[in-house]
């Protein structure tokens, strides 16, 4: 078997694959954060909880109603998106004029509530979600074994990421969004319903998180606390990439997944800390992040 730096090729490529998949999740989540940040100027601390809700909803809907994977892939994000719109409309909007720190704290409180309630009902040990039959098995690529589902996660995440990028950068709706980011008062003056746009943006952002949650359900352990850990990692990813661009969020997310995978291969003890170390280095060299424009 061929070796690279004393590590078998198969192990390396296996870890790389896991890295890319983790990176796909980081990309989806940081993309949602970036979209919300763009218009609302807040960091959505409930983003991890929304991701968790997406995964939990998938499992619960399957267990109670027998809703299958494909329906869940559509239904769970929509439900979570509606929850997000309600959250924006009834809570976040009330403190829109205040310091943005308050909306961060508000979403943090909401995350604690959701996580706490679900922990009481379902415990923290994790729910099982059976892999859909279509995705059982995999394909041998010669140098490694590629499970179908993992390939699907990468493809689906890339499609959604690209679609979001396209919508925001190339369509009229995206133009409104970008204009709202620049000057929402002027937009209002042009007769565009900015409050509605804000609600929908928040809803869309958390939909992305929930979509990531559905993708995660068959491969990660589904627990009420699954969102809080990944969220902090995603924060670090966002700091590394900078909030400047949608594309930057996607690229940084995948890149950091790969970095994490490589670390797991060559020096496992540092694998959970490596992204934070990268963040420290980036902060020292480029305080505004790799793709960031300004602080």
């Amino acid at each position: 078997m061929s070796m690279i730096f004393g590590v078998p090729m198969a192990v390396l490529s296996g870890q790389l694959l896991i890295g890319i998949i983790n990176g796909a999740f980081y990309a989806l989540l940081s993309l949602g954060l970036a979209v919300i940040f763009g218009l609302l100027k807040i960091i959505n601390f409930a983003h991890g909880a929304m991701y968790m809700l997406g995964a939990m909803a998938t499992v619960i809907m399957f267990d109670t109603l027998g809703v299958n994977y494909w329906v869940a892939l559509f239904l769970a994000p929509v439900l979570v998106g509606i929850a997000g719109v309600l959250l924006e409309y009834f809570l976040l909007r009330r403190i829109a004029g205040q310091d943005h720190i308050y909306s961060l704290l508000l979403t943090f409180g909401v995350a604690l509530i959701m996580q706490g309630i679900l922990t009481n009902i379902y415990g923290v040990s994790g729910l099982r979600y059976a892999m859909p039959d279509v995705f059982k098995g995999g394909i041998n690529l010669g140098f490694m074994f590629m499970p179908y589902y993992r390939a699907w996660v990468i493809v689906a995440a890339l499609i959604v990421c690209f679609g979001t990028w396209f919508m925001i950068e190339k369509t009229k709706l995206g133009a409104y969004l970008r204009a709202g980011t620049e000057d929402s008062q002027l937009m209002q003056g042009f007769g565009i319903n900015v409050p509605l746009l804000v609600s929908l943006t928040y809803g869309f952002g958390v939909m992305l998180a929930a979509f990531a949650g559905v993708l995660a359900a068959p491969i990660y352990s589904v627990t009420p606390v699954m969102g809080s850990h990944i969220l902090i990692v995603v924060f670090a990813v966002v700091v590394i990439g900078g909030m400047g661009s949608i594309g930057g969020a996607i690229i940084t997310g995948i890149l950091m997944g790969v970095v994490e995978g490589l670390t797991k291969t060559f020096y496992p003890p540092a694998s959970s800390a490596v992204i934070f170390l990268v963040m420290v280095v980036v902060l020292m060299i480029r305080p505004n992040g790799l793709f960031g424009k300004e602080a």
Partner: protein, 331 residues
């Protein structure tokens, strides 16, 4: 009456009001002090010490959040660093007296605070919160991996030892008065800092940073110093906590703890001196009461609910709302 007469009259009446207010404050403080001195005879001293440690933690956090306007989401790192350092030293070097261990813990937390500050200070607002959170997570992983912390089990059996080599801290009353003295010293220190010209600059930075810059203040230096002082006091709180409970655990390093200190400060009243103390009392009490009753599993969602309600309905916190009420109706 001539104009100067009127002016001096107004001046006098203002002075009079000031004096009356000072007297009122002095009486209130004296009353509180007597309460604190007598409290351990009525309430279990270890519980009181827990409140005092968290109160100091919150006071330290408030110096940064309430008075400088920087939201750190990583203060748990300093609490835990102080606690682990003190716990490790006191457990392994029996020659050390307790206060030496506590001073060492505080110093290490201070140095860590400087590192955090240098890395995060160029970011503002929510970015600052994210950077501090991520840095604290790095510290958390360090403690998880390091063998000396005891990992998930925590560091048990930290000896309380003797203060200055002759005051036995195994005695809960001695321990209580020591913790109280340290707490009051730090509280007065923070009061002094806030009232000093330096504290005024911090407030100016909070209210309008570009203006402070344009007035020629080196804003970053002021913020870094505030961060370091805050980290030092948080470390001191952690050091004392590990001595009081004879335990340093991963809980103190978890981001959850960073959230809790924000809640304490917010509920009590950010930007007021007494607020964080009241907030710490409130949160520790609520957690304790809930843990006793049928709602013991619902502590987290209830605290989350308190968070939401505080942010939505009374952002000035308990002390802030009382101040508003007094000013409106009695002032």
């Amino acid at each position: 009456m001539s104009q100067t007469d009127i002016r001096s009259q107004i001046h006098k009446s203002i002075l009079k009001q000031q004096k009356a207010e000072d007297r009122r404050k002095l009486m209130l403080n004296g009353f509180l002090l007597v309460l604190l001195l007598l409290a351990p005879f009525v309430i279990y001293p270890v519980f009181l010490m827990k409140i005092l440690c968290f109160a100091l933690f919150a006071v330290a956090f408030n110096l940064l959040f309430g008075f400088t306007g920087l939201l750190s989401f990583g203060h748990a790192a300093f609490l835990a660093t102080g606690g682990y350092t003190t716990g490790y030293l006191l457990s392994n070097y029996s020659g050390l007296t307790t206060e030496m261990g506590i001073i060492a813990g505080t110093l290490v937390a201070t140095v860590l605070g400087l590192a955090f500050a240098l890395l995060s200070i160029r970011r503002q607002g929510i970015y600052f919160a994210m950077v501090t959170l991520a840095l604290a997570q790095l510290v958390f992983f360090f403690f998880v991996q390091s063998p000396f912390t005891g990992g998930e089990d925590g560091m048990h059996g930290v000896p309380r030892g003797e203060l200055l080599g002759f005051i036995n801290l195994e005695d809960n009353l001695n321990m209580y008065y020591f913790v109280l003295a340290v707490f009051l010293g730090c509280y007065l220190l923070v009061q002094r800092i806030v009232g000093s010209p330096y504290g005024q600059v911090l407030k100016a930075i909070k209210q309008n940073e570009p203006r402070a810059v344009s007035l020629g203040y080196k804003v970053d230096r002021y913020k870094i110093l505030a961060f370091v002082i805050s980290a030092a006091l948080a470390g001191l709180a952690g050091s004392m906590k590990s001595v009081v409970f004879q335990l340093a655990s991963l809980n103190d390093a978890h981001w959850h703890m960073s959230g809790e200190v924000i809640l304490m400060t917010l509920v009590g009243g950010m930007g007021t001196l007494l607020g964080p103390v009241i907030g710490a009392m409130f949160v520790v009490n609520v957690e304790y009461q809930l843990a006793q009753g049928p709602l013991r599993d619902w502590v987290d969602p209830i605290l989350g609910g308190v968070f939401v309600i505080t942010v939505l309905a009374f952002r000035s916190g308990i002390v802030g709302e009382i101040q508003k009420f007094v000013r409106k109706n009695l002032g």
